[in-house]
Symmetry: C2
């Protein structure tokens, strides 16, 4: 077992290998150095490019690395094993820019508290975890019942409830606190189906110090909020907000790569540790920001997709990936922070949103609750657009749902220059229909590094409107512009020239990219169509469309309709809710009614398995066109395409 | 911090001191060397006599050690600090003979299974913890609900129940077991008030391997049984039985000394560890004896007095001892073996009998259940005779109870030559009324070392019947026998001469001993009287008397009535049940109905606090006579006393 020192630049992080089989990707993982690794380390994505600055390595040549780059020292980290001490440079495109999430530079992902009332009208502040201040009568010879009996007698009187429980740990500390506090104590309780459970005691009156933390565990991003449970009447008071990348990213970009990684030795434990460390970082930020004592956090609520939920709880996600796609469980028992390794007081109660199926998770159940869909009579289409597009159709009486494997195009996956919406990502595009020159805006207004999902939708819509692209997703070969050219993988459109970029390459949109994007949008649209058909409805019956998900928030609604990602419905029917999962988690923590509702909704939602549906395949093929083979469904778009030159405005020539 | 080597003889156990303040009693405690210590180490009992064989010690002179013994090297271990390496001899009277309990030489303490039906008529075998074998349908694309959903669906179908729960740990291992076992699994469940909780999974059909262990945690002795839960119809099948001294004895003989010790630094933790180590030893014996796999033990039931229960669960017992005598709790949540440190599979469910008050514990609640008292219409008096005499009066409709601080006389405490019923203890006595010579039988038929409780009752009854003692408990001063003489602490009767004993001393019964015994029996009798009066009944209304407790089992009923310990009621009303606590624990484990009943009974029992009752004091004074100042209550005894010489049979002169 040789030990080699690996130094990663530019972070200068140092780690030692422990095993001859250690690759540089393994070492980077352990060192906490982020390197893109979309495929979980199986060398198929080719994204984990690093440059050997010094030292000897064993690395076979890989088609993803050109001969020129190979000679410059570029390698795939997942295929490279150090033979001695090595200095490695992590290229710019492989570094995740975390500052963008930590800062406040972007639009907030979450609806404001006041906006919640507009979505969910019927709710009252009635937190499941609450505190009550009691002044207990002191024991005397005439009244010497046990301390727990004294407590229950008083709770029964004040709360008009007869069913109390407490665990051994609480009993162990109770008597001393009662006496130290001269029988004036604050009791923390949680309302469960079966009654009230005593969670904690504090001396004196602390009833006003009652806070919860709600966390949405996304595959890419983890978002949390710290809520004031004691001081809320109709509106939820948010004292802090923080988000960060899910540290599991180092083990793969999407749920499938994570599940693959979980099958390795200690893989599940490592993934669990990674997401718990992210969560603990967020909790620590929230506590700092809110100036709240850690001991006053008395409730934790988590929501995530089924895979994230399994990984967080330490449940083996293997069968989520394997046909017939069965999760371990969709309902999760309440646990303690200690059981989960979450850094609040050990015995804080943590609740995890129930899921529906392998690909409809607790984040969607939370979104349905948070968006008010389960409280409205209106027939509502709920779409969470990401790597997996999850869609829910229904209202307060019925709910039907499906997950469409849209592929990772919306998050930059499968796209040659695709990237997340980080600094340098092209996010807005206009194309001059006369000279076909693009005008681009990037996140952070930096020199471009790649294209994010919303930039890609913009690009495709503009390419279509400017006549560069036909409705099959193919570039016109007869245009007089160097922007359209034949590249290594077929025809492509140059959206940024080398000189303008940070990456010493032209940034292009290829026909392969277009193919992938069209598949992604077609899957979503086809999924909606299948759900509608299954209940005998059509798009025309939809009374409200809720777009959830961080990505959805940045979509240009018009552009999305032009490419046929969203149905052509009146703009006023669309509502963006941002992180619907977090919205639902907030409600869950604020009102015990939603805790029960969450489980009922998860059981009530009918899951339609699209992967094996011929109907879905047919609809998918029909939708694999811009905007759709059924032109009648997109009359407005077709009209704009007919009047192409009129649809764009004055560009300088 | 000097380190001295302490060698204890005869065991040759060696331990090193860690602190200058370490006494030899501290060292013995850590070494696991048993030395009598009735007073918890505060030097008041004077029982921890040891002999310094070699080495230098710092030990002040103590009135309990005579000058002669002091010169021989005798010291009180609790007042002696080593100054260097020391060799210490633990005298015979201080060594507890454990073999007597491990072996089968004595009569069994527990009623046979077949006897149970006579006591408790209405019960059926319906264990709260049970196993069920399921063949689950394999998942398919058409039926791909979650694994837990699949389990619950099948359980619901088979058990006709709709309320199931499972904790995270069970969910974590479920999926792998299901698949490894090809969906043929045995599920362990526990019936709780709120529904059924899944506790465990095993591959294949293990439904017949379902065992429980029930344990009575006595202050002195811990008794356990291993029960076969799967193969029982009407009778409980006991596969093993084991008992041992409670290792807490090293920290004090009675509950008060234990509570005193628990207030020392780490005292509570040490006491907990001590009893857990005893319990683990018993569990290990039971498993060995029964040839049952540890993994097949699926339920644990514990019953003990309130202090033992607190110490076992790690609840601070301090306020049990301090006025107004409030326990932390009388109801205990179910816990796991792991929480308790008990050496079965970690997540075996452990249930602890509820208590009633500081001095009416789970052992009494279990005794009431186990003796059938709570199922009969007959007005029943239940007496558990030990250091504390606990009495319960009532029937299926009402129960009233009290604890009488009888003092430790019945267990040899406060008696100059008192000892537990171990080898060498005088347990049966007859006295020749002509020459006043005694005839004695000892436990194990060894040379006498002291007198145990039943021997003392025998002695007093015989001394009274033979005219040596008057009804005030004073020896006649005018008898012509060397057996009655004036000793160091007043008049005494020599029951064994030095030459006949193992302890190089005369064994005597003193007037101080008699005083203590009379107080003890008077407290019990007065307690019964107060309970009867409080419900407007008299002894004549009692239809059944149940004598519980290991000690009760050895009492000579006639002798006990002669001294007024038991009321003069027809002999056929008396039933000895031995360890009633274990009987109740068995029922609890075998029939879920009793689990609910236990809590109801504990809440239904009205506790009468005697310590502050003037009525009790009056009755106590009235009963402090042999047999009682109210002769009308003991007509038969008075008649025998009048015909003293006739009451004894032919002794050789």
């Amino acid at each position: 077992m040789k030990k080699h020192r690996i130094t990663f630049l530019p972070s200068e992080k140092i780690i030692y290998t422990t095993d001859d089989k250690d690759t540089l990707l393994d070492a980077a993982m352990r060192a906490g150095v982020y390197i893109n690794a979309s495929c979980g380390g199986n060398s198929s994505c080719g994204k984990c490019r690093i440059k050997i600055v010094e030292g000897s390595v064993d690395s076979s040549h890989h088609p993803r690395i050109t001969r020129i780059d190979y000679d410059k020292g570029y390698r795939l980290a997942c295929k490279t094993r150090p033979q001695g001490n090595v200095i490695v440079e992590v290229p710019l495109e492989s570094q995740i820019d975390r500052s963008i999430l930590k800062g406040k530079s972007r639009k907030p992902l979450i609806l404001s508290a006041s906006g919640l009332g507009q979505l969910v009208k019927e709710w009252k502040a009635d937190p499941a975890v609450f505190k009550i201040y009691l002044e207990l009568p002191e024991p005397s010879v005439d009244d010497n019942i046990s301390d727990s009996g004294r407590l229950v007698r008083e709770l029964r009187r004040v709360l008009k409830n007869d069913n109390f429980s407490a665990d051994l740990r609480v009993l162990r500390k109770m008597s001393e606190i009662f006496r130290e506090a001269a029988w004036k104590v604050t009791v923390t309780l949680i309302a469960l189906n079966e009654g009230l459970q005593v969670l904690n005691f504090e001396p004196g009156n602390k009833a006003q110090q009652n806070y919860s933390i709600v966390i949405d565990i996304g595959t890419t991003t983890v978002c949390g909020q710290l809520l004031d449970l004691a001081n809320c009447s109709k509106d939820i008071c948010t004292l802090g907000e923080s988000s960060d990348y899910n540290a599991q990213i180092r083990y793969g970009d999407d749920v499938i790569s994570r599940i693959m990684y979980s099958r390795k030795k200690s893989g599940l434990a490592r993934l669990r540790e990674a997401v718990v460390s992210t969560i603990n970082g967020i909790i620590s930020d929230l506590i700092d920001e809110s100036h709240v004592e850690k001991a006053s956090i008395s409730h934790l609520v988590f929501a995530g997709n089924t895979t994230m939920t399994h990984l967080f709880l330490g449940l083996d996600p293997k069968n989520i990936m394997l046909s017939p796609y069965t999760p371990v469980s969709n309902i999760y028992p309440p646990v303690t922070a200690r059981d989960l390794g979450v850094n609040t007081d050990d015995y804080v109660n943590a609740q995890v949103f129930p899921c529906v199926s392998s690909y409809i998770g607790g984040d969607i159940v939370a979104g349905v609750i948070g968006s008010g869909m389960s409280h409205t009579d209106k027939i509502t289409l709920f779409m969470d657009i990401g790597t997996n597009g999850e869609i829910v159709l229904g209202n307060r009486d019925w709910l039907i749902c499906a997950s469409c494997s849209a592929g990772p195009a919306f998050e930059g996956g499968g796209i040659q220059f695709g990237m997340r919406a980080e600094k340098g990502a092209i996010e807005q595009v206009r194309i001059n229909p006369v000279n076909y020159e693009p005008m681009i805006l990037t996140v952070g207004k930096e020199k471009p590094k790649g294209i994010c999902g919303s930039g890609l939708i913009d690009s495709v819509a503009e390419l279509l409107l400017s006549g560069i692209l036909d409705q099959n997703g193919k570039f016109r070969r007869d245009l007089d512009t160097p922007r359209v050219r034949e590249g290594q993988s077929g025809y492509e459109y140059v959206i940024a020239n080398t000189a303008d970029t940070q990456i010493q390459q032209d940034i292009v949109v290829t026909e392969v990219d277009l193919y992938n994007l069209i598949r992604a949008k077609a899957a979503l649209y086809a999924g909606c169509k299948v759900l509608l058909d299954s209940v005998g409805l059509s798009f025309g019956n939809i009374e409200k469309v809720i777009i959830a998900g961080g990505f959805g928030h940045y979509i240009d609604l018009e552009k999305a309709r032009i490419i046929g990602l969203l149905p052509e419905l009146p703009l006023e029917l669309f509502v963006f809710v941002g992180n619907g999962s977090l919205l639902g988690a907030r409600l869950f923590s604020f009102s015990r009614g939603f805790m029960i509702e969450a489980e009922n909704i998860s059981k009530m939602m009918t899951n339609v398995e699209l992967s094996s549906s011929q109907k879905f395949m047919d609809e998918f093929v029909a939708a694999s066109f811009l905007p759709h083979t059924d032109g009648k469904a997109f009359p407005g778009v077709l009209k704009r395409l007919k009047n192409r030159s009129l649809s764009t405005v004055n560009y300088p020539q």
